[in-house]
Symmetry: C2
Subunit: 373 residues, 2 copies
């Protein structure tokens, strides 16, 4: 019941027999090897051309005369020919695969990036080979090694803090490499993202502007990007003379809404006088909002909340939550576009692209006076 390709193949075999040398095809039908599916040679036989011409017509139609092109298209259609990517990869020593390494799948930031990557691909015949590093350098190195074994057409990796071995492998990969999410000095090849340090600064400045002084920082899963946001916060707080190490509450445990609740409780214990919290992402911010609601703390009258990433729900939360809009989807799309351009030999003029970010100011950080309007 589960196995009919052999049956399906037989009409094709007969078709072939009528066109190619009959001896040939009979031998082929008896053979136990082979996939039983039409090949380039079958298409070529039916169209009455050489197989290499079919190959060209499929990959680079410009180089084949319109007449042959049409005959070949008809033959492809009739046989239901689908190219064999393994054979192509083997013959050309280059797989139509783009390796993508991200640190997490749970995190909806990266699912947005992945969506951008998939949609940026459109229907071009590239495959995405996807790997989850779980925020581990060793795992990243292992996965990269596996990916390189396939001779990918390009690589997309998250962040700019690869370990030395990983860094060297990327440099020697012999294919375009795009580092995403962040920008920094010394790219391996290309880079697209924004400055997390600046983003941290902007949020902190905003809260100082609206009159907050005891501004806490809550961070779960303190990856390198979160640490840079924290560094931006710290720089601005020091400059304003407000910095206090007790205001910073972080954990390396994974981020979640409930982790936001517990980080907030811990912060309240350490610094009961906090008048604002900056969260390293929106999950944590949402947890803080819920915790405030449960504790009867008025937002923003008694405490202001700022998040990071600007998930869609931030705008409709009650109160709506100030957050930094990050171009996650756009990063995915543009990363693929850059990779494709580089594969096609047209390296973009700008190899380091700063997509920036946007502070979305909402109710959770508005001054009472403004709210009253």
């Amino acid at each position: 019941m589960r196995n009919s390709p052999a049956r399906r193949a037989s009409p094709i075999g007969q078709m072939r027999r009528g066109v190619a040398s009959s001896n040939d095809s009979e031998v082929r039908n008896r053979s136990r090897r082979g996939s039983g599916r039409p090949t380039l040679a079958d298409v070529a036989g039916l169209a009455g051309v050489g197989s290499i011409t079919v190959s060209r017509a499929l990959r680079d139609p410009e180089r084949v005369s319109p007449e042959l092109r049409q005959r070949i298209a008809a033959a492809v259609n009739e046989l239901g020919y689908v190219p064999n990517p393994s054979a192509r990869a083997l013959a050309s020593a280059r797989a139509d695969v783009i390796g993508v390494l991200v640190p997490s799948l749970t995190n909806n930031v990266f699912s947005e990036v992945l969506r951008g990557i998939h949609e940026g691909l459109g229907d071009c015949p590239l495959q995405i080979q996807f790997g989850n590093t779980h925020y581990s350098d060793e795992e990243e190195e292992r996965l990269l090694r596996v990916f390189l074994g396939q001779r990918p057409s390009a690589l997309i990796v998250s962040g700019i803090d690869q370990g030395p071995t990983t860094r060297q492998m990327l440099e020697e990969a012999g294919c375009p490499v795009v580092q995403i999410m962040e920008i920094g000095p010394d790219p391996v090849d290309m880079m697209i993202g924004f400055s997390h340090l600046e983003a941290g600064k902007v949020v902190a400045r905003h809260l100082i502007d609206v009159g907050c002084k005891r501004i806490g920082f809550l961070g779960a899963r303190m990856d390198p990007r979160s640490r840079r946001r924290l560094a931006g916060y710290e720089a601005v707080m020091r400059e304003a003379g407000h910095f206090d190490a007790a205001l910073v509450t972080t954990t390396i445990s994974p981020s979640s809404v409930s982790m936001g609740v517990s980080l907030f409780h811990k912060a309240l214990e350490r610094t009961p006088d906090v008048d604002a919290v900056i969260c390293n992402n929106d999950d944590v911010a949402l947890g803080v909002l819920f915790a405030c609601h449960r504790a009867g703390l008025q937002v923003p009258a008694q405490i202001s909340i700022a998040g990071f990433n600007d998930l869609e729900m931030m705008e409709v939360a009650s109160p709506s939550i100030t957050s930094v809009r990050t171009p996650r989807y756009e990063i995915g799309r543009r990363a693929i576009a850059m990779a494709r351009a580089a594969i096609a030999g047209k390296r973009p003029q700008r190899t380091v692209v700063d997509l920036g970010f946007e502070l979305k100011i909402r109710e959770s950080t508005m001054r009472p006076a403004v709210l009253a309007l």
Copy 2:
């Protein structure tokens, strides 16, 4: 700067010259084809065995004597040999690829499933080939066609409502097929999920039990699974004599928290007397919670809310939200386990697995009396 594989390959080439016939290797070095990386034959030369023995040692070590196995392992290590998956796929007419089709990446339900799939894979040498159908039958069919062109080892598809062409392609795929998320009659091959109809019934019954009568149903992105949950709701409501078509507010637009807000507003307009809403997922439920908060409606005193999926945040929301816990991660893990077993020829005895679900009753649907305790 970007291109060093050629340089890296040269010591390997020299190594090879010392072992294999020197004439051979010189020709090989001059050739412009080939990846420049060590091959099975190189490993075989260094270990002093036939290449087929190396192949066996790598795929099925039991069949090679311990002594040779060790020599081969040493040679692999020394050369840094990595098998070429394309060549393997071509020669064996079978790629070590599992095709996975899901309808959405935005939806965190499916990112959990994907996480389960990736983690269920462990470090076995299978690759996941992933496709996003965007809830479109045509797109599903197109992607399936692409996947089948690679002769995957197994296929994982979402839902049980494939179109006739897709259904036929799956039946003729000649590889194990796992349908996930749902169970139903007439599986293509294997199936893992739970009954959405039952889940819909259980939630509706619970709300009736706590004394609600005008129970609304809010649904965004009404895919087949959501429709079956709605059918369960409708059946129970009819049985209780509470059904009213005006209580059902749905849209095919994508689901989101803000869509939950607007669906709730629409429902309030049509049936201002609703005393509870069942949402087809937790995003919508969260939107309802925010809308209630903004409108000053007490939850659950004035209105009860139930969600679906039991995202982590439901438990810490304020009030916490009743939801149906669905085994998303587990579905991914088990689906891969079933696929791997089938690939290995050990088809599981149970080919249709019902993982069930669990109604998590929380504050948002508690009777005032219970809350007062």
